[in-house]
């Protein structure tokens, strides 16, 4: 079997036809993932026992003639900010290098309940803070399509694992673009669902008003199946929504003729010419499918980066306060007094980007600055939200680039934090508004670097987003 291109449907078919067992698939996947890891560093840890146990349960169900679940035997890689009981979860931080969670995230419980097989934990930027995966305490991830380039971030390991074919599905987390941007850079599908669609119970908190869990996959259908599995109300996350979860696969073959699409003019001015051409060609494909594309304006876009890096860092400075040497594994050896323990544990444990964000977030919340920065940013966030509300009064979905450029070289931007932040411009707006957004592969540059097209839809209208993405993927395959 060619495990590098398997889909959920092919695995199901192969298992039910007894052409291979789930345990065989898990072993072969782990074997290939371990071998590949020397080149990409996509994984921080493998979970062979857990994977084989889960796979054996699927095989037993099939042997008994029972329904093995929608993810039966499907190898899933999990970003290392999502808690897995008994399996190290480090957040790619020195601070949590030895942390073993006492419980599973709800998304993990649902995946395993659906027959999914967790094969390992993927590398990422430390505490999901970064756009290149270079902020991992355990080394950067390399883009499997171009080893001298970054896979994007912060869910770089998850995107790389799916792209290189060592996992069929992966879970990522997205606070300002951390699923869509690496999906774009690695040429896979990445979905940031509506805020509240997927429970964050067990997701290590970075910026709670912005954090999402979402799927990465090689096909739109597989992403839809994984989202359907993990979506829905969870009593353990008060921000998870009651909204009913439709079967997204039902939308995939829908007609997109007559759908009204908005193309925001603010998203087209700073693209590299190749990215601009590929997005234009993608929009043309949608037009040929019968979509009505019109230019729209989202005027608050110019303020999005400033708004995001105030709100996200303010929330991060609060969420990361818990790593103080008392509860979470790492404590500095220089802990003579309580205060020295706090300061030195954090000073020695956090990497540069986390410190930078804790500093910025503490500054904008500090006495005398709160109104000028944090409160102002919350008001500007409302303007960004209203931009989208106005746009969705006239269009059914928005199409846009994911990133101004394709994957950049390792080391190219790491010394210029503001330039790195500015590259998040097209993904950050959707995060601030909390609307569902996804990246679908939209061709490659002359150098073979993938470019993703972003589709954004109304709150809780992932179905329209998947309908468009499904039609686009089909049109591009023909």
């Amino acid at each position: 079997m060619d495990i590098q291109s398997l889909t959920i449907a092919q695995i199901r078919e192969g298992l039910l036809a007894r052409r291979f067992s789930a345990v065989e698939l898990a072993r072969e996947t782990l074997h290939s993932a371990e071998a590949r890891n020397a080149s990409t560093n996509a994984y921080l840890r493998f979970s062979p026992e857990r994977a084989c146990d889960a796979a054996a349960r699927v095989d037993a169900q099939i042997a008994r003639g029972e329904e093995p679940g929608p993810l039966a035997g499907v190898p899933v890689a999990v970003k290392d900010v999502i808690l897995t009981k008994g399996l190290h979860t480090t957040c790619a931080s020195k601070l949590l290098a030895d942390y073993v969670p006492p419980y599973d995230a709800t998304a993990i419980t649902r995946i395993e309940g659906a027959g999914g097989v967790i094969i390992g934990k993927t590398n990422c930027d430390e505490f999901a803070m970064g756009s290149s995966n270079e902020n991992s305490a355990f080394g950067p991830v390399r883009n499997p399509l171009a080893p001298d380039r970054v896979p994007g971030g912060s869910s770089g390991g998850s995107a790389a694992a799916v792209a290189e074919g060592t996992a069929v599905l992966a879970l990522g987390s997205d606070t300002g673009g951390s699923i869509r941007q690496p999906a774009s850079f690695c040429g896979v599908v990445g979905v940031t669902p509506t805020y509240g669609r997927v429970s964050r119970y067990g997701l290590t908190a970075f910026a709670s008003s912005l954090d999402h869990i979402g799927p990465l996959a090689r096909t739109v259908r597989d992403a839809a199946v994984l989202l359907h599995t993990i979506a829905g109300r969870d009593p353990m996350d008060a921000t998870s929504a009651e909204a009913p979860v439709p079967d997204y696969t039902q939308s995939l073959n829908g007609n997109v003729k007559g759908l009204k699409l908005g193309l925001p003019r603010e998203y087209l001015k700073d693209l590299t010419s190749e990215t601009g051409d590929l997005i234009a060609a993608g929009v043309e494909t949608l037009r040929r499918l019968g979509c009505e594309v019109r230019e729209i304006s989202l005027p608050a876009t110019d303020y999005a980066i400033a708004c995001y890096y105030i709100i996200a860092t303010a929330e991060a400075s609060s969420n990361l306060a818990r790593y103080d040497g008392v509860r979470y594994t790492f404590r500095s050896e220089n802990s003579g007094t309580l205060s020295a323990m706090y300061r030195n544990t954090r000073g020695e444990g956090f990497g540069a980007e986390c410190k930078r964000r804790i500093m910025l977030g503490t500054y904008v919340l500090s006495a005398g600055y709160y109104d000028a920065y944090y409160l102002k940013a919350q008001k500007v966030r409302a303007l960004i939200y209203q931009d989208f509300a106005r746009a969705f009064a006239e269009v059914d979905a928005i199409v846009a680039p994911v990133s101004p450029f394709p994957a950049f070289k390792l080391g190219e931007k790491i010394d210029d934090p503001l330039a790195m932040y500015l590259s998040d411009i097209y993904t950050i707006t959707g995060s601030l508004a909390g609307i569902p957004c996804m990246s679908v592969p939209c061709g490659k540059t002359a150098d073979g670097l993938p470019v993703g097209m972003q589709i954004l839809a109304r709150h809780f209208d992932e179905s329209t987003m998947f309908r468009l993405a499904g039609a686009f993927e089909r049109a591009r395959a023909n």
Partner: protein, 99 residues
């Protein structure tokens, strides 16, 4: 200049973060540049705009509380399993008050 090295030191104290001199120097430059970019918010007219604390602010119907029922807790052993210095069912820290 938006922020001085002295202010960086003060913010680091608020954040309980020990920084080396080199880090203070570096973060002064980084924060200064980022705060320079953030300046643009000052020009935005937000008169009459309600601050948006989170996404569901316009969708109160989806915010629900779970039923207030007891459920089994993690238990002390599991809760302390990751503690750097557990003891007698507690998280231990350096002595705060001398007797």
């Amino acid at each position: 200049m938006k922020i001085t090295e002295k202010e960086v030191g003060y913010v680091a104290e608020l954040a309980n973060l020990s920084l080396t001199d080199e880090e203070v120097h570096r973060f002064q430059a980084d924060l200064d540049e980022i705060l320079g970019h953030v300046e643009r918010l000052k020009g935005v007219d937000t008169a009459g705009v309600e601050p948006m604390a989170q996404v569901l602010y316009a969708a109160a119907d989806t915010v629900t509380w779970r039923a207030d029922r007891e459920r089994p807790p993690l238990g002390t052993d599991l809760a302390l399993a990751n503690a750097p210095q557990p003891g007698d069912g507690y998280f231990k820290v350096p002595k705060v008050i001398e007797r």
